[in-house]
Structure formats: structure tokens, C-alpha cells
């Protein structure tokens, strides 16, 4: 079984989308002297986003354009360190005239952001409850991640609302400033990632299901083979139906096409190839039983009917072995080619659309 290529971009999901909304809002002190300090207070918070945006972009860019895993990981660690520092700075800020709302909601947002980037979801969501409701560890991981990002988005919305409340309470006029270069890049990249993630999830579900089927074949578990075969066929069909409703990305249909080819392969594997593999296990069992019966019979007691029955079982078993071998060879060949095509298309897609 091939291992799926680790794609750090996938992990980004909507984290930055939440923060991107914040950088659109810049504070600006009005001419009125009495409000100048509150404006400066807000500006001090908004300045903290700049190093965050810079490091986030560096990480996103590396993920999209580099094949160097070490470099990508290094960028991620830098980003986490930056968020850690920002969180510390936010917490050290004084309250403004007894109003701790802005400081606390900013701290809460960066706190969540820190744990999300570290993938420490246990600090954010109830992993036990999620595991209880999930089919397997992968589904639990994806659900934990989704819930963590939901919470991050909620924290972002709360923070934004708090900014407006604070400005209103302390009579600060908010003016939308021009987006920074990094914010623009991140916004564009986020759209690419969101699209990629939708297609990837369709592929990944079927990919994981195929892994279960392979595991069942390796352990000779016919029960698991039959069930996983049935589910692989269903997931491939559902995936194709969803792909059908999705538009191309900026006129580029390559990712969808690569995913479609994978799903067609999975569909064929489930409906045409898996039955041949399962048949091999059943023929093997039948042959072994017939052989055991015949082996126990003394040669002189064996009838022509016995010999004919044994020969028929041998022939059926040999045919099943041949079909099993050729099916596996064919599957391995197609699987490798399609897997490489998917990785190549993904890399090209990211490279092309992420600024």
C-alpha cells in the first residue's frame, strides 16, 4: 500500500480566513484629543497582526511551492513561535480604563490559534466525545480539526465584534485601511486551499477506504473484504456525483480530473477486481476442504467421482490463483500511476494558483 503524500497545506483549512478578516480592519485615531489614547490602544493590538501575517504567508508559500519538507516544517515552527510571542504580548497589555474586552478577546483568539497550529486539539475540543462518535481514528482526527477550526472562527467573529464594540464605547472611528501585501496573498491562497481541500477530501475518503480493503485482503478477512468493497463502491459513486457539481478553479479543471480518475479506479477496483480477489479466498478454502477429505480416504476407496470432484476443485483453484495474481498486478500498476498523477497534479495546481 502506498502512503499518501503528506500535504501541510491541507492542514491550513480556514485558520487564516479568520485572521484575514481582522487585518482588514485598521484603527485610526480621530482628530479629537480625548479619543486619541483609545485609538492608539487599538492600534497597538492591530500592529501585532503584522508579524503573524508575515510568518503565516511564509509558511503558506513554502507549503505551496516547495517540496522540501524540512523547510516547510521550519516555517511552521517559526509561525508557532510568533503566535506564542504575540499571545504573550497581548496578555501583558494593560486594560483600557477598566475595559478588558479587547485585550481578552484578542488573547483568546491567539490562544486558540496557537493550539490549532500545534494541532493540540485536546486543548480545544472533547476528543473522547469525538472519538466515541467517529468510525475510526482518521475520522476522529478530521472531526476534531473541523471543530477546532469552527471554534477559531467563532473566536475571530467575537474578536471582530469586540473591536466594533470597543471602538463604539470609546468613540474610536474605524477606517478600513488598504490590505497589506501579505493579507492579499493570504486571501488569494486561502481560496485555492479551500477549493483544494474540498476535492482532496473526496479523494481522501475513498483512498482511506481502499486502504481498509487492502488490509482485509492482507489478513484474509473475507468479512472485512466484502464490507469494505461495498463501501468503496459507494464512496467512489458519491465522490463522482459531488465532483460533478463542482466548478473548475479559475478555468483549471486539472485537480477535479485527477480526482475523477482516482475515483474511476476505485470504482473499478470495488466492482470488477475485488470480486476476483474474494473468489480466490473462497476457492482456496473449498479446495483445501476437498483435499483434506480426499487425503483421509485410502487410495483404494477413492471413486472416479471423488477424483473428478478433486480435479474440478484443483482447476477452479488454479484459475482463481491466476486471476488473483493478474488482478493484483494490474491494480498495483494502475494505483501507482494514478497516485503519481494525483501528486503531480496537486503540486502543479498549488504552484499555479497560490501567489
Amino acid at each position: 500500500m502506498l502512503a499518501i503524500k503528506h500535504n501541510p497545506m491541507y492542514r491550513q483549512l480556514t485558520c487564516w480566513l479568520a485572521v484575514a478578516l481582522l487585518v482588514l480592519v485598521q484603527t485610526s485615531a480621530t482628530a479629537q484629543e480625548t479619543f486619541a489614547h483609545a485609538g492608539e490602544y487599538m492600534t497597538r493590538f492591530s500592529e501585532l497582526y503584522e508579524p503573524f501575517a508575515a510568518d503565516m504567508w511564509a509558511y503558506m508559500s513554502a507549503s505551496a511551492h516547495s517540496n522540501n519538507a524540512q523547510k516547510i516544517e521550519k516555517r511552521r515552527e517559526e509561525l508557532i513561535r510568533t503566535v506564542y510571542d504575540i499571545r504573550k504580548q497581548v496578555r501583558s497589555q494593560p486594560v483600557w480604563k477598566g475595559d478588558a474586552g479587547l485585550r481578552d478577546s484578542t488573547a483568546s483568539f491567539f490562544n486558540l490559534c496557537y493550539f490549532v497550529l500545534k494541532e493540540d486539539y485536546a486543548r480545544i475540543v472533547n476528543l473522547e466525545a469525538i472519538a466515541e462518535q467517529s468510525y475510526d481514528l482518521m475520522e476522529a482526527y478530521l472531526a476534531a480539526k473541523e471543530q477546532a477550526y469552527d471554534q477559531l472562527n467563532e473566536a475571530s467573529a467575537r474578536l471582530q465584534a469586540e473591536q466594533y464594540r470597543f471602538a463604539d464605547t470609546h468613540r474610536v472611528q474605524l477606517v478600513e485601511s488598504e490590505k497589506s501585501k501579505n493579507a492579499e496573498r493570504i486571501e488569494a491562497a486561502s481560496q485555492v486551499i479551500a477549493y483544494y481541500n474540498r476535492v482532496f477530501l473526496i479523494y481522501f475518503k475513498a483512498f482511506k477506504q481502499e486502504a481498509y480493503l487492502t488490509e482485509a485482503v492482507n489478513s484474509g478477512d473475507v468479512n472485512a473484504m466484502l464490507q469494505n468493497q461495498n463501501t468503496l463502491a459507494r464512496l467512489a459513486a458519491e465522490g463522482m456525483a459531488t465532483l460533478d457539481t463542482m466548478p473548475d478553479f479559475a478555468g483549471d479543471g486539472s485537480l477535479k480530473e485527477a480526482c475523477l480518475q482516482q475515483l474511476l479506479f476505485f470504482r473499478e477496483e470495488a466492482s470488477d477486481k475485488a470480486p476476483m480477489i474474494i473468489d480466490y479466498f473462497l476457492q482456496k478454502e473449498t479446495f483445501e476442504r476437498i483435499k483434506a477429505v480426499l487425503d483421509k480416504k485410502p487410495t483404494q476407496e477413492r471413486t472416479q467421482e471423488d477424483i473428478d470432484g478433486y480435479n474440478a476443485a484443483v482447476n477452479a483453484y488454479n484459475a482463481a490463483v491466476a486471476a488473483y495474481n493478474s488482478t493484483n498486478e494490474e491494480l498495483n500498476k494502475s494505483r501507482t500511476a494514478l497516485y503519481n498523477a494525483w501528486n503531480k497534479t496537486s503540486t502543479l495546481f498549488m504552484d499555479k494558483h497560490v501567489p
Binding site: 473475507v222 468479512n223 464490507q227 463501501t231 471423488d306
Partner: protein, 688 residues
């Protein structure tokens, strides 16, 4: 300094408590360890207060003396004070209560032996109007108050045993009746020998008398926690393991104890050495076993366990049996590999109005030694695949008399029919609550389905049936199931692998259904209820006072996605109409009523030679009718094998014979016939 001697005395008095005595009997150590292990691991540990200790004593005495012929009430009253503070005694490293009870048991067995000797000399008075009362209710007859009362018990018991021998000896009615008085001395001597043997077997138990009596205590103590917790001595474990190791090698005979306490051949394994000898038959009574070294082991005074143990230790031997004709015969046998009956013949195609599949699962088997081994669920999946290839329109899974087995297999089996999701909820004392889920996403069969159950479908069978019912995946047909919703683990009593140490089975978990309810005690209630003539005789979890309660799970159930509702009311109504006009089920209902009366009514047997045979015959007659009602083959369906099984059966006449017997039995089974009707109705009503 003046206080020193007192202090020293005080310290010395503490010593025996602080450190267990060096020569502490092993059963004391095992008792201490058992209690500690149960307190640590059992789902609901027991506090050994005075009421519990009293219960432990009484149930122990009952376990040693179930017929109440050994101990008197006076014995119990005298032993009781020694049992006060049982848990303190054990914790302090002693178990004097057990030692004195075992001593008393030995003495009372000796008394009973002497009493029996006195009966050799003198025949009981058969003219005296004596009655023996048999009750199937929970309340047994009271213990004899003292020795005089015990003597009267024995007299009556002995008369009963002698009359019973007379009754069975006179049964083949083609022989002219012999007067009881003529046979009485011989029959009495036979009955006497049998009773003496029973006592001698206990006194000379292969484990040693003390170890045996203590193992009964440890078993009984375990069962006080709940009916499924148990203790196995090292001796039993050793025997169990040697029986596993020799499972493939066998003489091909299964032994039974007959109504006189003799050991007879209960079954011959088809194709095995005994079967092929053509000289041994079911019902032959074993007289002696001749070992390869020439030693002759008389079996008069051997119990079933001891004989099976002897058989398992020799590869060649010669059996002397008494045939039913009375003739003696000697047969030499050599142990060899006997084919294990495969489950291939347990799946059939039923041909009637529609083609239906039938799978009988006798137990949830797996390889306990290998976690990754594939068990019964995998075999069922393969059978199902083959039945699907035959184009079946509906499926019957038969779990009657399936007492359970591996929980993982029950979950795997349920997964075959359910796409994904939780199947039941497991609760443990320390680990909390956890859903047990379908291991594989997807199904193998999603067509109409029936699960056939009865009162002996237990444990894993019930988990499976409940999951099918909760998901509305299948119609449950039959009688309410046993009612066991708990899980056990087997643990060694000591951490070291000492060969002399026993094992315990501890109930560590309880299971709940997805809505938070339980089938504990009440069983899984069928959607379509069928009468069962034997139901009143079947044991059930609720019969046991120490069984876990049938409570609901704290915090409610677990979310899951059931399938659309099944037309259960319509199916039950149609089945009810059929049953009302069915002669077979009419007879079954009558037998059920009889059986119920039999259970609820105490039986008084007059211990007089004139009336006894007629009384016994009347009792036996009541049970005999149940067989006659089920002998006609069904006009509704025929049964055949699927193609793969047919190919194997074609070259294996032995298996083919067994297969034909199964088909003959199933085509005469009124429950299977009714299940076919219900499945047909289900297909019609759901338009599947």
C-alpha cells in the same frame, strides 16, 4: 519501664495479624487473593458484611450437599460463629472458618458412609406411607434439624433410589414383570454401592479432599459476586488445557452419566475409531478400562470427570462395555485424529414460495489464543456470499441454543448487516462508558432478515439480536432470550505462573442497548413471539439472586441512525393467525401449559412399590408428547446445500450423512417453518 511487659504483650498479640502464618494453607492464600482481585476488578464488588457472610456459608454448604443428605441444621448453627468476620480473618492471613467447615464435612461424609453400611443389613419398610416431594421452585426442602431427622431423610431417599432402579429395569415391557420384593435386595445393594461411591469419590478426590472442598468454596464465593464470575482450580485448568491439546486426537466417543449414575456412551463421533469399530454403540455402559501396561481400572466407583481424564492420558486402551442386551464386550481402541465438524453444513438454501437462506450459528467461536485469528463472523460472511450467489430473497439467522462466546465476533457479525455506527454500550467500573462499534463500514447483505432465538440464546447472541432490533435491521422471532448482559475476563489468581495457582473469571463489564436500556435479566423480547414447550424448564438470568439488576444506563443512550420501521404489528398478527390454526403449535401450546403446571406444582411420589411405576410413567408421559408433535416434515419448504457445500458433500459420505440428518431435522422444525412464513410476509409487506 513498668509498662514494658504490657506493651510487649500487646505487640506480640499483634504479630499473627501483621504477618500471615508461614504454614497457612494454600486455600487461605487463594481466598485472600480472590477477594482482593474481585474487589479490584469486579464491576460491582461485594462487601462481606455479616449478611453476606451468612449467605456465603449457607450457599457453600448447599454446594457441598445439594441433596441435603450430609449436613444438619445443627451443623450449620455450630459452624456459623466461626464465620463471623470472614473478611477480617482472610485479611489477617487465616481462614479458620473454612478449615473447621472442611473438617466437619469430612466427618459428616464418614457418618453418611456408616449410615449406608447399616442399610445393607436391613431393608427399609416399604409398607410405611412415605412421600418424597419434588419441587422445581426455588425453595428446596428444609435441612434435617438433627441426626434423627437426617436418618429419616436417608431412609426415604434410599427407598426412592431403589424404586427408581426397579422402575427403569422393568421398562422394556417385552420382559415379564418381576415382583419388586424379589429384586429389592439386589437393587438396594446396587443403589447403596452407587451412593457409597459418590461419597468415596469426594473423600478420595484426585485433587485431595481438602483442596477439593476448598475449591467448591472458592467457586461458591466467586458466584456470590454474580452468577458468571467463577473460580477454576489449577487441576481443572490443567484438565481443560489437556482436553484442548488432545481435541484433534480422540477415541471418538462422548460419555454421559445415565440415570443410575453409570457411565455410558452418549455419542460416537462419525468416522472416529469407536464408530469404525462397529462394536460400540450409544447406550453401552462402561465396565472397565484396560491400560496398555495390563492394569485394569474398574469404573464402578469412578465419576465422569475421572474417566474422561483417564481416557485423555492414554493413546491405546481397551474398553469393556455392557451392551443393552446385557452381554459384555471388550473393544480395543487407538486414539487418532478425528475430523472436526466444519460449519459448512450449517448454511442451507430453503426452497418454497421463495428461495431463502438459512444460517445456523451454534456459538460465537474464535481462536482465543490469537487476537488476529478469524472467527465465526468471517465464516458466516463466506456462507452468506455463497447464499447470495444462489439468489436468496431473504435470510434466517438461527441463534437458538447459542449460548454466546466471543463478544468481538458478535460485533463483527452485526457489522455484516449494518453499515456503520455503535452496536451497544459497554460500562466498566473504572474505565467508564464506551460505545462498541461496527468494525467495518459497509454491509454484505441488506435484504429481508429474521433472527430466530429462544430462552437459551445468551450473551453474545443477545448483543447481536438486540443490535439487529435496535437498528430495525431484522425481525426477532422466537421466545425471550436468556438475559445476560455482562462481560467477563479470565485472570490468574497469582501474578507468578505457579502451577498450583487457580484462575478466576471476573465480571468486569455490563452491556446496554443503544437507547440506554438493557436486556440484563429480561432478555431480548422477540418482535414475533412463538410458544416454546420447553420454556418453563429453561434456566434464565433472572432466576439467579446474585445476577446484576436490569437497570437502565445512567445518562441515557447513544445517538445512532436506525433504519425505517418494520411492519412488526402486521407480522405478529399474521403469525398469530397461523398459530391459532396450526395443529403443531396447538400441541406445543398444550405442552407449554403442562410444563408450566409441572414447574409450578410440587410432585409427590408415593414411595410404595405398587404406585411408584404408575406415578413415574405419568410424569414421563407428559414430556414424551413434545417429541411426537414435531415429527412431520414441513410441506412449506425443502432444504438443500449451496453449490460449494454440495461439491464437498459429493466426495465425503460421512459429512453427507450428517448433512442429511440436519436437513431432516430442520425440515421437521415447526419454528423454522413459521420463520419462513414470517420472512415471506416481510418480503411482501416491505415490497423488497
Amino acid at each position: 519501664m513498668k509498662t514494658f511487659p504490657c506493651l510487649l504483650l500487646y505487640l506480640l498479640s499483634l504479630l499473627p495479624l501483621a504477618a500471615p502464618a508461614q504454614n497457612e494453607p494454600q486455600y487461605c492464600r487463594e481466598t485472600r487473593r480472590l477477594l482482593s482481585l474481585f474487589n479490584e476488578r469486579h464491576y460491582s464488588p461485594m462487601t462481606l458484611d455479616s449478611a453476606a457472610t451468612q449467605r456465603v456459608l449457607l450457599t457453600y454448604i448447599d454446594a457441598l450437599d445439594p441433596d441435603r443428605l450430609i449436613f444438619t441444621q445443627q451443623d450449620i448453627d455450630e459452624l456459623a460463629p466461626a464465620w463471623y468476620g470472614l473478611s477480617d480473618q482472610v485479611r489477617a492471613g487465616g481462614c479458620a472458618c473454612l478449615s473447621v467447615s472442611i473438617d466437619r464435612y469430612r466427618a459428616r461424609l464418614g457418618d453418611a458412609r456408616q449410615r449406608l453400611d447399616s442399610y445393607v443389613q436391613q431393608a427399609p419398610d416399604y409398607t410405611q406411607a412415605d412421600t418424597l416431594r419434588f419441587s422445581m421452585q426455588a425453595l428446596a426442602r428444609p435441612r434435617a434439624a438433627d441426626d434423627a431427622a437426617l436418618d429419616r431423610y436417608w431412609q426415604r431417599w434410599f427407598k426412592y433410589k431403589t424404586l427408581l432402579r426397579y422402575y427403569y429395569q422393568q421398562q422394556p415391557s417385552d420382559t415379564p414383570a418381576t415382583a419388586f420384593a424379589d429384586l429389592e435386595p439386589t437393587l438396594r445393594r446396587q443403589a447403596l454401592t452407587r451412593e457409597q461411591c459418590r461419597i468415596d469419590q469426594v473423600l478420595g478426590h484426585p485433587m485431595g479432599f481438602e483442596a477439593y472442598a476448598a475449591s467448591v468454596f472458592l467457586k461458591n464465593l466467586s458466584e456470590q459476586f454474580d452468577p458468571h464470575s467463577a473460580y477454576f482450580s489449577a487441576y481443572e485448568k490443567d484438565r481443560f488445557e489437556s482436553s484442548l491439546a488432545t481435541e484433534a486426537l480422540s477415541f471418538g466417543i462422548e460419555l454421559d452419566e445415565n440415570r443410575y449414575g453409570d457411565i455410558e456412551i452418549g455419542r460416537l463421533t462419525p468416522g472416529g475409531p469407536a464408530w469404525r469399530s462397529k462394536e460400540l454403540h450409544k447406550g453401552d455402559v462402561l465396565i472397565d478400562i484396560r491400560l496398555p501396561d495390563g492394569q485394569v481400572v474398574e469404573l464402578d466407583c469412578q465419576d465422569l470427570d475421572a474417566i474422561e481424564d483417564l481416557l485423555s492420558r492414554h493413546d491405546r486402551l481397551s474398553l469393556t462395555v455392557r451392551k443393552q442386551s446385557g452381554r459384555f464386550q471388550q473393544v480395543a481402541l487407538a486414539r487418532e485424529q478425528v475430523a472436526v465438524t466444519e460449519n459448512i453444513i450449517n448454511s442451507l438454501v430453503l426452497e418454497g414460495d421463495r428461495r431463502l437462506g438459512y444460517i445456523h450459528l451454534p456459538g460465537f467461536y474464535t481462536d482465543w489464543e490469537d487476537e488476529r485469528a478469524l472467527g465465526c463472523a468471517n465464516d458466516v460472511a463466506k456462507e452468506l456470499f455463497r447464499l447470495r450467489q444462489e439468489g436468496i430473497e431473504g435470510l434466517i439467522i438461527d441463534l437458538r441454543y447459542n449460548g454466546g462466546g466471543a463478544m468481538t465476533e458478535a460485533l463483527q457479525l452485526a457489522g455484516i448487516f449494518i453499515d456503520e455506527g455503535p452496536l451497544c454500550v459497554m460500562q466498566q467500573r473504572k474505565e467508564g462508558i464506551r460505545s462498541l462499534k461496527d468494525a467495518n463500514r459497509g454491509t454484505i447483505y441488506d435484504g429481508p432478515m429474521i433472527v430466530l432465538v429462544n430462552g437459551l440464546s445468551a450473551s453474545a447472541s443477545e448483543i447481536f439480536a438486540a443490535a439487529m432490533q435496535d437498528y430495525r435491521r431484522a425481525v426477532i422471532v422466537g421466545t425471550p432470550t436468556y438475559g445476560k448482559a455482562s462481560g467477563q475476563v479470565v485472570l490468574p489468581l497469582t501474578a507468578s505462573s505457579a502451577a498450583t495457582s487457580g484462575f478466576v473469571k471476573v465480571s468486569v463489564s455490563r452491556f446496554y442497548r443503544l437507547d440506554g436500556s438493557t436486556h440484563q435479566r429480561q432478555g431480548v423480547q422477540p418482535d414475533v413471539l412463538l410458544p416454546d414447550a420447553l420454556a418453563p424448564f429453561m434456566p434464565a438470568e433472572a432466576d439467579d439472586a446474585t445476577a446484576f439488576p436490569g437497570d437502565s444506563m445512567a445518562g441515557g443512550g447513544r445517538p445512532f441512525q436506525p433504519l425505517p420501521p418494520l411492519p412488526l404489528d402486521a407480522l405478529a398478527a399474521r403469525s398469530g393467525q397461523r398459530l391459532d390454526t396450526s395443529a403443531r403449535f396447538g400441541a406445543i401450546r398444550m405442552q407449554y401449559e403442562d410444563a408450566l403446571r409441572l414447574v409450578q406444582t410440587d410432585l409427590d411420589l408415593q414411595l410404595a412399590a405398587a404406585s411408584f411405576p404408575a406415578d413415574m410413567q405419568r410424569i414421563e408421559q407428559r414430556f414424551r408428547r413434545s417429541d411426537e408433535a414435531q415429527t412431520a416434515p414441513s410441506p412449506v419448504f425443502t432444504a438443500r446445500n449451496h453449490r460449494t457445500a454440495a461439491a464437498i458433500l459429493a466426495i465425503d459420505p460421512l459429512l453427507a450423512g450428517q448433512n442429511q440428518s440436519l436437513i431432516d431435522k430442520l425440515t421437521r422444525d415447526p419454528y423454522l417453518e413459521e420463520a419462513c412464513f414470517i420472512l415471506n410476509d416481510l418480503i411482501v409487506l416491505t415490497g423488497q
